[in-house]
Symmetry: C2
Subunit: 209 residues, 2 copies
Amino acid sequence: MQIGTKKDPATKRPRGRPRAYDPDTALRRAAQAFWKSGYAGTSLDDISAATGMNRPSLSAAFGDKHAIYVKALSSYWDFKFAAMRKAFEGGGKLTDTLMKVYDAALSIYFADDQQALGCFVVSTAITEAPGDAQIREIVAKGFDALDADFEALFRRARDNGELNAGADPTVLAQLAVATMHSIAVRARSGSSRSALRKLAQNTTAALCK
Amino acid sequence: MQIGTKKDPATKRPRGRPRAYDPDTALRRAAQAFWKSGYAGTSLDDISAATGMNRPSLSAAFGDKHAIYVKALSSYWDFKFAAMRKAFEGGGKLTDTLMKVYDAALSIYFADDQQALGCFVVSTAITEAPGDAQIREIVAKGFDALDADFEALFRRARDNGELNAGADPTVLAQLAVATMHSIAVRARSGSSRSALRKLAQNTTAALCK
DNA sequence: TGAATTTTGTACTGCATCGAATAATAATCA
DNA sequence: TGATTATTATTCGATGCAGTACAAAATTCA
């Protein structure tokens, strides 16, 4: 159990009793719990157990359940989604970049060795977005960002001559994202990682020719 | 309010007090409620309100909450999913058939005018499949059926010469289903029906050339 | 008309959950 | 060392929920 954040030993400690948790790791663990069982399926006691924080500390640090969920989703965004998007950088061959992106996604979707968790954003889109404008906004922003990443990638490839001039980057991006969504959905319903990687390879081959 | 099922007036009534509900319509309404808010997000009182049945009647007719969910999912399968799959029949042009399928799906996903509900099977794949083997089985069977329908459609089109001989029906079906999943996901996170129809059109055009 | 049978409607029990109030603890500051 | 401050730990109260027991109602059968 990690005690405190020694991020900067020079900064003077604040006045009172020191925190027994690190807010970032706590949020990551809360995200993992919500990710696995959804909003309604995860109790504050579950969050408490996952983070090691007791309930009043959760309240004090992050607010009520809804606020914790929003912060956890943002944490997922910062730690997982952002890492995946890094796979777009580098500028190798189009097919290689695409597979790097899909492999990064698969690593996240299958990170938990007990149970495939899929994509927290996709799951949130299904469960929480319809009834919650704030969360819907966050999800939409995430989807837009991914759409834009794929579109930029295909546009570059077209301009480089890797794709023929008639290729439509927008449509290709939609198909690439659709496969990503499909992978996220199928991962949670029992498809194996290898089967979904094959799906990614098929998509990559189909879109690049 | 509909009383009883007059499906066959010749059949003698059973012995006791007649039922005040029709089991099929009750299940459809229960499905609608679960479809909207998920398993954990829907209480038995919600189901009770949606069906007009009180809780002991629900218990007696369908069993406990989990059993109701399974039966509701099967009801969705019988009434919605099966109707959508009819769009595969008919044997017109490939692009027309594909758009008929997508339009049938969109009609279901946007059937509720208050709120886009997406696909009950996709939503169940996300929320309930991971933790419930029985439901996971049902979902997998649904996905397999749709994969097979698309694959058969593309195979026929290739054999008819509508697609070039090198086209791979399996891969095309995966992409077509991926777009379906994507539409279901995006529908619940606020995308408009017209935007998603455009997505379907783009997919159709891309896969048929 | 009255007994038998099935369903409906009300009420209850036990349990989980959320949120907050209160007391104990561990640090800094004077 | 004692006051101050922030966090932790325990506990409580109110609410919601799932499942069930029991009495009332509506129908068929004799």
